[in-house]
Symmetry: C2
Subunit: 285 residues, 2 copies
Amino acid sequence: MTEFDATKIAKICHIGTEHFQAQLQSTEHRLAILSKWDIPKGSKVLELGCGQGDCTAVLAELVGPNGYVTAVDPGSLDYGSPYTLGQAQDNISSSVLGPRITWKHADPIEFLKNDDGEYDVAALVLCTWYFASPKVLSDMLSTLTKSKIGKVCIAEWGLSSTQAQSHILAALAQAAVQYHNPSSSSNIRTLFSPAVIEASAIEAGLKLQSSSTLIPADNVLDGLWEVQMVLGTEFMKDLDSFVKDDRQKVLIKSMRDAVRASYEQAGGRKQIRSMDVWCATFVKA
Amino acid sequence: MTEFDATKIAKICHIGTEHFQAQLQSTEHRLAILSKWDIPKGSKVLELGCGQGDCTAVLAELVGPNGYVTAVDPGSLDYGSPYTLGQAQDNISSSVLGPRITWKHADPIEFLKNDDGEYDVAALVLCTWYFASPKVLSDMLSTLTKSKIGKVCIAEWGLSSTQAQSHILAALAQAAVQYHNPSSSSNIRTLFSPAVIEASAIEAGLKLQSSSTLIPADNVLDGLWEVQMVLGTEFMKDLDSFVKDDRQKVLIKSMRDAVRASYEQAGGRKQIRSMDVWCATFVKA
C-alpha cells in the first residue's frame, strides 16, 4: 500500500487544527485494514456503517477516479463532537475525493432493500459492535446475501492479542453494561467475536473466502480510549443507572477492576495497545 | 517457609495413587499464600470455606501441635469426585494432623452466630467466589466484625497478571454464565475483585491492615482448569440452558472465543498461567 499516502488522506478528513495525530493514526489504521483485502481500482464499493467517513475517504482513494463509494450510516447528522457526522462528511465531500463518494443517511438494511445499485464489494469496517442486537447482524447479512453484491468484506476487533489485555477487558466490561441500556449510544452495544460473526454469515447464506488478522500499529489509540472510558466516571454512572441487580453490578465492577489492574501492569497510558483486527471476505455460498 | 515440607502435607491430603502432582501444586500454592500472613505457632484459626481441606492441612501444620484449626464448610459431604468432601476430610483426620482439626459441616454465617469459640485469626482462602451473592460476603464480614476474632485474613484470585490473560477471561466468562444459574454449583458463582472485597470489609466495620500480591508458581493449575472448563461442552450446555436472551448469549459466546484466542496465543495448555492472588489482612476498625 506504499502507493497510498495516509497523511494526504488524513488531511482530507481532518477538521480544525488540533489532534491531527489522532486523525492520522485512525486513517493509517483503516488503510492497514483495507490493505488486507484486494479492492481493485475502479471498484464500486458499498460501505455500511461509514460514520464520520474515516474509512470512506480511504476507500475513495483506493478505488481511484474511476471507482465509486456509496457510504451508508444510520447515525444522526448531528451526532458527534467537536464536529458532527454531517460536518465531517461535508468536509470530505468538499475535497478532491468528494466526487467519488455518495453519503446515504439511512438504516443500512432498509437502504439495501430499496436500492437497486450494483456493487463489487460491500465493506463493514469496525462497525458491527454498534449494532443493537444479534438480529441486526443476521438481518444485515441475509439482506446482503440476497443483493447483487459480489463480495462482503468485514473487519472487526478480533478479541485476541498477546499484548492488549486491557483493551479486550475494557470492551467486555463496556458490553456488559450496555447490554442493560435499552437505548445505548455507546461505541460498543453488542460485542461479536469473529467466530460469532462468521456463524451468522454462514447462516445468512455466505461462505468465508479468506480471513486474516491485523495487529494494529503501536499508535492506534482505540484500545486506550476504551480503557479510559471504562475507568472514567461516566462508566460508573451508567453502571448505577442501568444495572439494578447487585450480583450483576458486582461482576461488572470487578471487570472494571480487572481493566484497571491490567492498565497499571501494562505501565500506564503510553503502553496500552489495541487488540487485533479480524479482516474477513465472504462470498455467496 | 522452608521449615514446612509441602510434599509431606500433600501426602497427607492425597487419596489414591494418581494425580499426586496436582495435589502437590495445590498444597504448595496454599503454603505460598499462607506464608504472606504471619500466623504464629500455637494460633487458634477459624477457617471458613475449607472445602476438601487442602488449606486446612497446611494451616494445621503451620500452627503446630499447640495450635488448632476449626474448619467450616457448607458443602455437602457427598460433593466432589472421585473423592467426596467427606472422604477428603476423613482422610486428613486420620493423619498426624487430625488431632489439630475440627471439621464443621455448617453454613459459616450460621456457625459464627452460634459459636462462642475464640480465635486469633479467621482465614478465607480462595473461597469468596463460591458465595451465592454479594450479600453473603457482606453478611459474613459483618458477622466476623462482631465476633471475638482478632484478625481476618482473606486470599482471593486478584484479577491481575501480566501473563495470565486466559485465566482472567475464563473466570469472567464463567461468572457471566453462572449469574444466570439460580442454583449454581460452579467454582465461580459471584466474582469479586480485591477492591470489591475490601469495600465490603470496610462497610462491615473492618480495616485493611496489610495486603500483598502472590504470583502463583508456574505449576499452579487453576488457570488451566478454568480455561478448560470454559472451552468444554458443559459450558455451552450451561449457556444454552441458563441464558435465554440472544444479546447476552452472544456476549458470553464472544467472551468464550476471547478465552480460546488467548489460550491459543499463549501456546496451549502447558503455557497457561494462573492469575495473581491477593492476600489481605483485616482488623476491626
